[in-house]
Symmetry: C2
Subunit: 229 residues, 2 copies
DNA sequence: AAGTTCCGAAACTAAAAAGTATCGTTAATC
DNA sequence: GATTAACGATACTTTTTAGTTTCGGAACTT
């Protein structure tokens, strides 16, 4: 296959055997992968054309096919790339209460990013059943990180004695991601702060045995629409 | 049904002006719509070809296009048809406890149907953003009925005094559908009974202030994998 | 300077699938 | 019996798009 040569060159950058001609623009890889994510979030995988991707990345199709041998390969790498661009979980909120931490997760930027990621996942839906590897990549990039953050916040709450140890954290940490995804993808409603508060106060807190009324007053200010600004 | 009027107008069938030639096979409409649902569940909307639909319905493309003017129109009616085939909510389980009722919802047949419906919804994902009407139809056919059943079971539990009246039923009744959808569509894991039990006992029951240990022993038999057979 | 490879743009090829038309046959009305 | 329309099958047209090729020019190595 002709492509083998290209792929070998792509991975054959070594000191002993330097490339002969012009080097590939390193920034172009990310530009293309980013364009793929954009378009998939907007239109879904099937409606994403290679011309569109090249146009968004401000390059030509040739540059794309020089790097990936097919659309299928491209999307797999794009999802992996998406994972690599996620914000580190270093910046976890730490308000002292689980309720405050959970609310703190949904800063506008985080919420927007999460919603975009879910749209990407929805756009992949049609190919997931045919490409198990892609389903796995999507899960690792989009789904797991979210549940993991929830889990860590809840584990901290257990460690601090706010939640009793026998609570079912494994299940509880999936509630918020699940309901957010359901609302965004299936019900197609915007993810508003009020909904988040309903889930936290109406389901999660009681499920974990925390009485919302007992939390410090600072976390429940009088004006509802100004909660935790 | 609304469809009858639609078809009559479409083909000019009226009581005063009976049709001249051979009549349309009435069963064929359902056969085609059923075939659409099947294929969408398996491959998704984009991979569904009109030839495939005709083949499954054991007819020709001409018969399909005689009834629907485009693939887009066909899918809208197919989702509406799906709604009409849903089992009535008359046969709600009534075991005396909310826990038993919720478990009773997931008879093998119901669970299979629910999973199929979710796959249909996933197969539609790529077109939902472009066709808001379809999103609405899908919500009405697949999502709402499920949450509605949950709500009714929980309202009965409140009426019976099992759950205190100030519980947030509006939010709680969405937990199970959401988490089932998330698991089926995004995580792509099978919907096992064990997961259902985790959600009920780990989240829903405590969230509604019901102590699982207090429920009648019959509903919690010793052998886990034989719960409520 | 020579040779090689990448760049972006565009033209091109090939396959898939939506939608249309045709045909011989069958079921209905007049 | 004649007419009309639906039936299933199949061939056809047209559009879209994945993937390839070509081109002039730019960047890099020797």
């Amino acid at each position: 296959m002709k492509r083998d040569d290209l792929m070998r060159v792509k991975s054959g950058h070594t000191a002993e055997n330097p490339v002969r001609g012009r080097k590939r623009d390193p920034g172009l890889d990310a530009a293309i992968l980013g364009a793929v994510i954009e378009v998939v979030a907007e239109l879904g995988y099937d409606s994403m054309t290679m011309d569109m991707v090249a146009l968004r990345a401000k390059t030509g199709k040739a540059a794309v096919y020089r790097r990936w041998k097919s659309k299928a390969n491209l999307i797999v790498d794009a999802v992996a790339y998406l994972k690599s661009t996620q914000v580190d979980s270093d910046s976890l909120p730490d308000t002292g209460t689980l309720r405050g931490d959970l609310l703190g997760l949904f800063k506008p930027s985080t919420a927007r990013e999460g919603e975009r990621n879910l749209r990407v996942m929805a756009g992949l839906a049609s190919v997931l059943s045919l490409h198990p590897e892609l389903a796995e990549a999507g899960n690792a990039a989009i789904v797991e990180p979210w549940a993991k953050v929830n889990r860590r916040l809840m584990e901290r709450a257990v460690a601090r004695g706010e939640v009793h140890a026998k609570a079912d954290i494994d299940t509880a940490c999936q509630v918020l991601p699940s309901m957010a995804a359901y609302r965004a993808l299936i019900q197609r409603k915007p993810f508003e702060r009020q909904f988040l508060i309903s889930v936290i106060d109406g389901v999660l807190m009681p499920a974990l045995g925390i009485d919302p009324a007992k939390t410090p007053t600072e976390t429940i200010p009088p004006k509802k629409d100004q909660v935790l600004r």
